[in-house]
């Protein structure tokens, strides 16, 4: 039996802010900014939420849905660029919180927005080699853009957890392939609160080149073309890049329909492609082919050629919330409340 996805769960905090509201504060055309980015609102975590709590919620959902004994988890990896500690793993807290400790290996992954997909590849290797029964790969972020920066209109919070195993596989992994180069499109130095980016450089040589090359090489290796896929999911730093890269590759709006979630929750970085995949699985039936291509600045892409199985028809996803609810619902807040929640207000030292 080959390794594949056996369960999944997603979590997005409940607060939302619109680009219009952000633009109002900075004297910018927020509405135009939102339309240009194709981001209509973004999620905002509550003051007591971070990458650890979001990862835990997503994984608890996945474990209940798949009726998976947490003691059978042999590896747990959390991919993020917003780990709460610089030194002290996110993964150990999450493992303890779901009752998976102590007989497992755990680590935090970092590769900008593709640390979660890299974690899935690692789990596939460990499970496929028979070293562990279940591997958990989580992609979560609570990233921030500097106040007034273009990134502030899209940087949001959310995550998804995927359990990889060999039994009761709901989605087979037919192939995974990566494309990696040294490209300085986006970075954050140690100790800096907000990231820096290479402006226009973030587009063509970075996101578009890596996603396109990775997708093409994957389809070439699999002997497939866009028409063979029912769904496609791209990394989505905004709502516009994935639409454009999808068109360039020859995918239709309909194929991107469920995999594109950033317009409604913002850019969840390491969570973005994975929440998109979770939404696809929420809507998919058995026997549907899916292409997912992640992207992380720095830079690299991980592609996954996937196919849902008959087991998906028996899978009970009723526990936790479907991704669609996170896309449709939420409580809108003002920029002032957003600034308070995100620690952008200087309180002074007591």
């Amino acid at each position: 039996m080959e390794a594949g996805i056996v369960s999944y769960g997603a979590y997005v905090p409940r607060y939302r802010i619109t680009p219009t509201e952000i633009g109002r504060v900075w004297g910018a055309d927020g509405e135009g900014m939102g339309q240009g980015l194709n981001v209509h609102r973004k999620s905002v975590p509550a003051p007591d939420e971070d990458t650890i709590t979001i990862s835990t919620e997503a994984l608890r959902t996945a474990l209940v849905r798949g009726a998976i004994d947490p003691q059978q988890i042999g590896a747990l990896y959390v991919g993020s660029e917003s780990h709460p500690y610089a030194v002290k793993p996110t993964a150990t807290v999450v493992a303890q919180a779901v009752g998976a400790t102590p007989n497992l290996t755990a680590a935090d992954f970092e590769f900008a927005c593709k640390a979660g997909t890299a974690a899935i590849q690692t789990c596939l290797g460990l499970v496929g080699a028979g070293m562990i029964r279940y591997g958990v790969a989580i992609g979560t972020d609570t990233s921030q853009g500097a106040p007034g920066d273009a990134l502030e209109y899209s940087a949001s919070a959310g995550g998804a957890a995927f359990v990889v195993g060999r039994e009761r596989v709901i989605c087979r992994v037919l192939r995974t392939l990566s494309y990696t180069t040294d490209t300085p499109d986006f970075w954050r130095r140690e100790g800096q609160k907000y990231p820096s980016h290479g402006g226009r450089f973030t587009g063509e040589p970075a996101y578009f080149r890596h996603v396109t090359e990775c997708a093409r090489r994957t389809m070439e290796a699999s002997g497939t073309s866009p028409k063979d896929y029912r769904h496609v999911v791209f990394h989505q730093p905004n709502g516009k890049f994935p639409q454009r890269v999808g068109k360039q590759l020859g995918f239709s709006d309909d194929q991107m329909r469920y995999g594109l979630v950033t317009p409604y929750i913002g850019n969840t970085y390491s969570g973005a492609a994975l929440i998109g995949l979770a939404n696809v699985l929420d809507h998919a039936g058995p026997g549907e082919r899916i292409l997912m291509v992640g992207y992380g600045s720095g830079a690299g892409s991980d592609a996954f050629d996937l196919e849902t199985t008959d087991e998906l028809g028996r899978y009970d996803a009723s526990f936790g919330r479907p991704v669609q609810e996170y896309l449709d619902q939420g409580v809108e807040i003002s920029y002032a409340v957003y600034a308070k929640f995100r620690g952008k207000i200087h309180m002074g030292e007591a």
């Binding site: 409940r14 939302r16 619109t18 219009t20 939102g34 339309q35 240009g36 980015l37 194709n38 209509h40 609102r41 509550a46 003051p47 007591d48 939420e49 971070d50 650890i52 709590t53 835990t56 919620e57 608890r60 709460p84 500690y85 807290v93 303890q96 919180a97 009752g99 709502g239 516009k240 639409q243 454009r244 068109k247 709006d253 309909d254 991107m256 329909r257 469920y258 979630v261 317009p263 409604y264 669609q324 609810e325 896309l327 449709d328 619902q329 939420g330 409580v331 809108e332 308070k340 929640f341 309180m347």
Partner: protein
């Protein structure tokens, strides 16, 4: 609270780890090593086993806090409730993901994992359970184009320039 003391309480704060008397079935949280319900306390000592609460329950009573405890300034006003768990024990915890005027006695809640407090900017971060509504109260849909509408069907002005 010291780092060591908090760490010792991790199983119950993270996982709602309590104990259960295998003689009479009573569940305790925090865990107890003796069952006060059983007539022979001494015999019950060996009959207590670790037991993890599901986290499901309902609000028994609650209060809205306006004068924040240290570290909760950002969350005022917030709700602290007594939660009757389905297994029996009554827990005290914050109720999140809901506005204070939405909370009522009998509200079905479920445990959720949140940050409890931070020891300053450089210290350890404490995590543990809080409660959230088991089902979200209906809220008005957020602004913007509804989700799940293909781009081609959306109004033209919502379309991103290609």
């Amino acid at each position: 609270m010291s780092v060591a003391r908090f760490w010792r309480e991790t199983p119950r704060r993270y996982n709602l780890g309590g104990s259960k008397c295998t003689t009479c079935g009573t569940v305790y949280f925090p865990p107890r090593s003796v069952c006060p319900e059983c007539t022979s306390h001494r015999q019950s000592i060996e009959k207590m086993v670790p037991f993890q609460l599901s986290g499901d329950g309902e609000v028994l009573s609650y209060t809205v806090v306006h004068d924040a405890a240290e570290g909760f300034e950002m969350q005022v006003p917030y709700v602290v409730a007594l939660v009757q768990t389905v297994e029996g024990p009554v827990l005290t915890g914050q109720v999140v993901n809901i506005e204070p005027d939405g909370v009522r006695i009998g509200l079905k809640v479920r445990a959720t994992f949140r940050k409890l407090r931070e020891e300053g900017k450089a210290g350890v971060i404490h995590y543990g359970y809080k409660f959230a509504p088991a089902e979200d109260p209906p809220v008005r849909p957020p602004a913007g184009r509804p989700a799940g509408v293909p781009v081609s069907e959306a109004p033209a002005r919502d379309r991103a320039p290609a």
